[in-house]
């Protein structure tokens, strides 16, 4: 399989190289899966349920160890010794899909402090990091609240804070938008954009193709335990076949853009990534097209 981004290999922060993994019950998690995450990029992993997204995630953090192939972080093959995993996990933060499966303590402050303490930091540093992490996700006012008094979206943000407080280079989020209403999704998106602006590399799994197209720099398509394509998000229109093999449509804005281009209302170079961008283009804000907000 040839990856679209193979020529930028040197910039890769994390790379899976022909990774194979089967679960103890015999089901295949990953089969010859290769993909790479570029430093500072926003990545969306798209695939049907059971396509291996979560298995990929658990490999990024060293929770699972490949049975074939290898996982490289910053160019180095992952060292699965105790110390090596410690180093990896302090750089790759993982946010699970269900917050109730991640939050340990009943107190927000305590739970967010859990990761930094595991890094062996002293109380003063931990306190500063916890405050900064809660601030970054907009949950400072909830520090001394009980976890079970929070809404689902708030719990999710506490989970992210708990990982942020460890100051990771790569943040991996398993379906972060699942179960959130529109407003919570927008709030979470603002949090993610803030993290990206701070230089954190982001990798998330999603079923929402419109969101992936609008948000991501790179999209990775997963099918049957393998990454079938890694592409710059702007080229998604060329992968309609691969998407339909997964039962996914193209993002709604692409057929719309094609229709408008065919009627001469939009130039071919203009590739708005969301309906809002398209509207901005049509209303005369020509500069908005192609450029990301």
């Amino acid at each position: 399989m040839t990856l679209a981004i193979a020529n930028r290999w040197t910039e890769a922060l994390l790379a899976l190289e022909q990774v194979g993994f089967s679960y103890p019950d015999g089901s295949i998690g990953l089969a010859d899966c290769s993909l790479s995450i570029l430093r500072g990029s926003r990545n969306a992993l798209i695939g049907a349920n059971g396509s291996g997204k979560t298995t990929v995630f658990q490999h990024t953090n060293g929770l699972l160890r490949p049975q074939a192939g290898e996982v490289r972080y910053a160019g180095q093959a992952i060292d699965y010794s105790r110390g090596g995993l410690r180093r990896l996990r302090s750089k790759v933060g993982m946010v699970f899909q269900n917050p109730d499966r991640q939050l340990f303590s009943a107190s927000v402050l305590e739970d967010v402090s859990f990761g930094p303490f595991n890094l062996g930091l002293d109380s003063t540093t931990v306190r500063d990091r916890v405050a900064a992490a809660l601030q970054a996700v907009g949950m400072s006012a909830f520090a001394d609240k009980a976890v079970h008094h929070l809404s689902f979206g708030q719990k999710k943000r506490v989970c992210i804070a708990g990982v942020l407080a460890m100051e990771p280079e790569l943040l991996v989020l398993d379906e972060p938008m699942a179960g959130l209403d529109y407003r919570m999704q927008e709030e979470l998106l603002a949090v993610l954009d803030g993290l990206h602006a701070r230089g954190i590399t982001l990798l998330l799994a999603t079923h929402d193709i419109d969101f992936a197209y609008r948000w991501a720099d790179q999209i990775h398509l997963m099918r049957a335990g393998s990454c079938t394509a890694s592409l710059d998000a702007v080229h998604l229109a060329e992968y309609a076949g691969e998407l339909s093999a997964q039962g996914l449509p193209l993002p709604a804005v692409i057929p719309l853009q094609h229709g408008l281009t065919a009627r001469g209302l939009l130039s071919r170079e203009q590739r708005p990534r969301s309906c809002a961008e398209l509207l901005a283009v049509l209303e005369g804000g020509q500069s908005a097209a192609g450029a990301r907000p």
């Binding site: 499966r101 009943a106 305590e110």
Partner: protein, 248 residues
């Protein structure tokens, strides 16, 4: 849940748990040291008053939380007032009013009320997370605290799970007849057992992902003016103990 609500919503939520713990402890000591039932009753009343008037726990709320314990206490007291008498000649067992029963009843009942008030004071004004932090400062065994933390957290996760499963079963007529109800209840228990297993594994994985390799360490919450609060609690507590010894 009632206890939980008031622990988070009372006026003394931000007061150091060390101060509240100390006052509660003094209440206990005073209740047990009280020489006369009247003194113990007075101590119970004072501690209850500080919970209601001081911490601002509503009286209705207070009574509802206290009621099960009071009912239990009443049952226990009644049994104290009577004694079983074995008639040696006939071998019959007779229930009779114990001669010194009333005194014993008054002493035990009043002390228990005092202890109950002291316990309720702590429970209704202090969230468990603050108490665990306090115990950690007092160097309680780590393993015990970790179990407390996880149990407390899981209590809410599982009460949600039970609620969801019950609702789902009821929606499909799972509790329509006693026979079906028994069956559904069995299903619920089986389902929950599996969930416990799964959750425990998921938490273990989540802990590993956050670099945990053994003990669970957390940041302690900070409370303002702890010294002052502890000082006031110590004075009030000593007052209670003095009262216990003073009223003879």
């Amino acid at each position: 849940m009632l206890i939980e609500q008031s622990a988070y919503a009372n006026r003394w939520r931000k007061v150091s748990p060390a101060a509240k713990g100390l006052f509660s402890l003094c209440g206990f000591v005073a209740a047990f040291a009280a020489a006369r039932p009247e003194a113990a009753l007075l101590i119970a009343a004072l501690v209850a008053l500080s919970t209601i008037a001081g911490a601002g726990v509503s009286p209705g709320h207070y009574l509802r939380v206290a009621l099960p314990a009071l009912a239990f206490l009443a049952l226990g007291c009644i049994s104290l007032a009577f004694s079983l008498d074995l008639n040696a000649a006939t071998g019959a067992i007779a229930l009779q009013f114990a001669p010194d029963g009333l005194d014993k009843l008054a002493a035990v009942g009043a002390r228990s009320l005092g202890a109950l008030a002291a316990l309720l004071f702590l429970a209704l004004t202090t969230p468990l997370i603050d108490l665990v932090a306090l115990l950690r400062r007092l160097k309680a065994p780590e393993a015990l605290l970790e179990i407390m933390v996880l149990c407390y957290r899981m209590l809410f996760v599982f009460s949600d799970a039970v609620h969801d499963t019950l609702t789902a079963q009821s929606a499909r007529l799972g509790y329509a007849t006693p026979r079906l109800a028994m069956r559904s209840l069995g299903g619920l228990a089986a389902n929950l057992t599996l969930q416990v297993w799964e959750r425990a594994h998921a938490l273990h994985v989540a802990a590993q992902a956050r670099n945990n390799d053994g003990p669970l360490r957390f940041l302690e919450p900070r409370f303002e003016q702890t010294t002052r609060a502890v000082g006031i609690a110590a004075m009030a507590g000593s007052g209670l103990i003095a009262l216990a010894f003073g009223l003879r």
